[in-house]
Symmetry: C3
Subunit: 468 residues, 3 copies
């Protein structure tokens, strides 16, 4: 295939390339383990055909439309739905043509690599996307999407996915997961417990969400004790449906360790809507510690994804809603922020807390030193803006010397873009092999060890860290 | 020429070097576009001979004398003028000898590369500068500076400068630009609107500067409305003289979005000298937003150069004045700081705001995500301490994956050191070609695309971004 | 030796490797100068045999046991002594086996490189450490440790140490240094003045420490003037015993420049235990400036090691005490923090202040610009978590272009792990040669110059900077 070179992402230097190739050869076909992501469980439950190419590949992918928007293409013209339902472009072919005309904007970005990989391996397209071949490409993809081989479960199997985790609101009834389980299909799709809507007082409808949490669980979510018990019940419900992790996306990594009495008083303020901004932040901080304590009991792996300034543009938020590319990373402290939680559970041998960051300055300075000593901590892979060749390389260069490989947890694709999953894992495997190849050619690691590490990074560590 | 290797700054690996060479071959002779810098328009207006080698190459270049000072050479002994006019070394040859004796201090620095390039290409010097050849080198340069071919306009043409922008105070009468325009010379020298002296309440003589602004424009700069109108007039005056941009060098990137009434009250405090430090900072912040709104109307490209702690040493400031090497970068936030401005004009398709930073940690974390989604934002090239081979490489590695190439704006030489301009552009072109060559050899970009990008980075994007 | 490749840490690209090899060949056998570290002077004074392999190589090395602890090995099982003296593993062989079983955890870390180097060059072990050869390795090391050739002075000579500095509390009687001096042995072991216990009001027993300082010096440490005079006396005492430097490990780099009167009043509060947290911090800040002023007088080189959050886990501090791996770096400001000190002594030509950091973001942004202009400042080598191949490479890439090579001070091993000293210097020399080789192959530096710089970085600069 011309747009996918066999040696892509490997160093040009022949010895390093040779080692990278040999390492990659042994991991490229390992099953994909996807412990954190945002695909829709309904897809696997209903197994309906995906709609047209644009709806599959452009409209839901904020990596794609944020770049186009930055260069003056209106989101409406890309089919991104508006919050008020006002009209947007619905013709898939028109959207696809706009994308093809602007495909050069993605030069040097991971989107370009993911898209080329998807077009080549999934749709058999061997030419670079251009305005001239946009229609033919569109037709080819559209045609294939109508076939049974391109339905969600068939793609799941084709992708060699061993297991995939979705991310699910605490109040979710997990009906699609239930439906998958009942269906007799062998694909393993598990939920993850994401309680933002019931732990973040600034979340839309927080108060009603807590009422609903009480109804679902039969607990008194007007009291601190009942509220915590309701969480325990929901976590148990998720675990029964296969969950092995919870996920928390607070603005900061702040944690707190209040006395039971102080926490209860704080909860009352939050519950009655009388908490100020600092108290709301403190409540979120306290809830991370509460979740960690519950994890010690029920074994859920705790994921912390801090540091995103969500919905930075109020105008765009009003017009298009959440997750439209206007989430911007900010400086994030971990050393002071995590201390209250670590003081309580940092040396628990059975707890697993996986830390993510959008602030690469924390890799060598804070995260590797923390994960390199606290048994409860592990480092998640490069996240979001950094799940790219250069970003992954920087992560290994900055984290490995202090945290080692074995305090990291393999790769997460973290994506809504289902067809890009194999491409994303492939990039990660290649970059890890290239990094290991450098260590080997610089005689910092022997080749037999590099093979073992490559396998661990591609497959074993993620299963172990996420208990999958 | 022995001190300038044809393949300098290209990877040693032969395939990568070959690609870099091929790319560079097609861009090395493109005209230079210099949209931001600090050369003196009087040079081009009067076209007088430059004085001696030391006055041309050492005395005005703070990259040069700061390094020498750090290693114990007194600024007086380098001919740097004192604020009170007390005597300093005036013998060019003596200064040049001191420089030659200490030339080894610049090993590994961009100054070394720029100086070697200048000596070799401009003065035909093929040996490395040493104490032994200092006198001969001095004589050679001095001799050439007396010839007509080394006058400012002739060098401008020899350098293949298509256009150069100076940086000019808001109160400047632009007489030299006027004189150039009247002269019939074809060289294009444009001003840029730099209003620090009339927007920064901490600027020396701020109050008198506003009086003067009123006199020049006939507006009442005692009122907020009149003050804004005076800015509009000055901007129009600059535009008439060819300006396409304004430039703003605040201590932080803070912006504000006050109501007209609140802004007016704040102006009154600032104008009457009763504003405290926080109010002065707020005024500067508000003025960035005001300038952006004016840019929407008049089309001036807005450049923001924040994050320098100016004149860090009061003793050196007192003895030698501004711009003597004691400006030190500080941590700079953009995500929160720019939000008020972006809330107002961030999605304006016709606005162009170019962001610079002295804090490289913001490239991947803040600047690329912001420029990768807001249509009004573009990223300026690596600035000041970072306009160096390693700094430029880090910029491409950290910014490209999220912002792409097309949200960046090509190169700025940003210099007072006129003879170093070709050297600086050459370094930038080489580093960009080396970066692209790596993408090509790692099969992340195809070679025909790399050629197009190399041309865009060397020539097209800067003209487009600066509307030149 | 199979586990130590001759070309380790050099680029794989043949031309760069060739240059690196040629550079390294000329510096690898230069004497080691160790101007900052934590070996015990008693070793050299008494010259007793080292105890068993585990007590020598595992138990005292927090790089080793922190990694093992992070992966679930209890510190008790590694023989790390408890604060209350409760029992821990004492069988060296058992500890060594645990280490061997977990040796794979160190893949990609500097500990792995240091340990392999030590095993190979010091104990003639040529196989990678595994559970299978753990016993044989243990026996071999244990046997050698019993021989006279492996006593401290003999190792000192074998290591080709020209001089080593220990770090000594201000109240220390320097008896071991005295004993070494009296012994007639030629090895040069010098103390460094580390006054934390008498300048940090939060230090255990601060008040009694000041009483003791008064007794030792005969000065009235109840008064500011007497307290300063007592410092002067202690510094003179250290200088008499060979000290050329002082060392300061404050939580931040904050300095202050109070009037004599304000400082005196602050001292009274601190001395009487009535200072609050901010006042204690201000006192530490003021004391850095006082130390710098004393350095102008007595010539001690001032080392500042800021930015570590010491003893982050109170539970581990309680159980095992200080220096057990729970010191975590934090963001550190230098530009504002050092200004008060620099305002007083920053341009003193005879003062030498060496700055260290645990926050790599400060290299290019703050430290290189500061050291690149202030004559009193030099940059220490990468410290602690960053004294690793990648860390050292980043330091050169980020600091050199602005500070040059000649505002840096060569290498510090900074270690308690005596047998690892040659390994650490060897890694530093190799990385510097690899960095210089890249400059040469990219034609940024000529090879004859690179040879001179390699020698300077390995030997000359450290002697000059530390006045050794």
């Amino acid at each position: 295939m011309t747009i996918l070179h066999d040696d892509r992402l490997f160093d040009a230097e022949p010895k390093a390339r040779g080692v990278a190739r040999a390492l990659y050869e042994t991991v490229k076909d390992l099953p994909l383990v996807s412990p954190h992501g945002h695909t829709d469980p309904r897809w696997y439950a209903e197994n309906a055909h995906f709609p047209d190419p644009a709806q599959l590949l452009i409209v839901p992918d904020h990596y794609v439309f944020r770049m186009l928007f930055s260069q003056g293409v209106r989101l409406e013209d890309l089919g991104v739905p508006t919050a008020d339902g006002s009209a947007v472009e619905t013709d898939g072919r028109t959207i696809w043509r706009r994308f093809a005309e602007n495909y050069y904007l993605f030069r040097g970005t991971p989107t370009r690599m993911w898209m080329d990989h998807t077009l080549a391996t999934l749709f058999g397209i061997t030419e670079r996307l251009t305005p001239a071949n946009a229609d033919a490409t569109y037709d080819r993809i559209a045609e294939l999407l109508l076939t049974d081989a391109y339905r969600p479960r068939q793609l799941f199997e084709r992708f060699n996915l061993e297991v995939i985790s979705t991310t699910d609101a605490a109040l979710d009834d997990l009906r699609w997961h239930e439906m998958i389980a009942q269906s007799g299909w062998n694909g393993r799709v598990v939920p993850a417990y994401r309680p933002d809507s019931v732990v973040d007082p600034d979340f839309d409808g927080f108060d009603q969400n807590l009422d609903r949490l009480g109804e679902i669980t039969g607990e008194d979510t007007g009291s601190w004790a009942g509220y915590l018990e309701a969480h325990r019940q929901r976590r148990a419900f998720f675990i029964k449906h296969g969950a092995t992790s919870s996920d928390h996306g607070h603005p900061t990594a702040d944690t707190a360790n209040l006395s039971a009495n102080a926490a209860s008083l704080l909860f009352d303020k939050v519950r009655t809507g009388t908490a100020n901004a600092a108290e709301k932040a403190l409540f979120r901080a306290q809830m991370l510690t509460e979740m960690a304590k519950m994890s010690v009991d029920d074994g859920l792996v705790l994921q912390i994804h801090p540091g995103s300034w969500r919905n930075h543009s109020p105008a765009m938020m009003t017009r298009f809603g959440r997750d439209k590319g206007f989430d911007i990373p900010t400086q994030t402290d971990y050393v002071g922020a995590l201390k209250p939680l670590l003081d309580v559970v940092g040396t628990e041998p059975d707890l697993s807390v996986i830390l993510f960051t959008l602030d690469e300055t924390s890799y060598a300075r804070e995260l590797a030193p923390l994960a390199g000593v606290y048994p409860a901590l592990k480092l998640g892979p490069p996240w979001w803006f950094h799940d790219s060749p250069e970003g992954m390389r920087r992560f290994r260069e900055m984290a490995t010397e202090t945290a080692g490989f074995y305090n990291t947890v393999g790769f997460n694709d973290d994506t809504r873009a289902f067809p890009s999953i194999p491409a994303r894992h492939d990039v990660a495997r290649r970059i890890d092999c290239a990094f290991l190849a450098r260590l080997v050619t610089e005689h910092r690691l022997e080749e037999d060890e590099a093979h073992e590490v490559a396998h661990d990074l591609a497959y074993r560590l993620v299963k172990q860290a996420y208990r999958l």
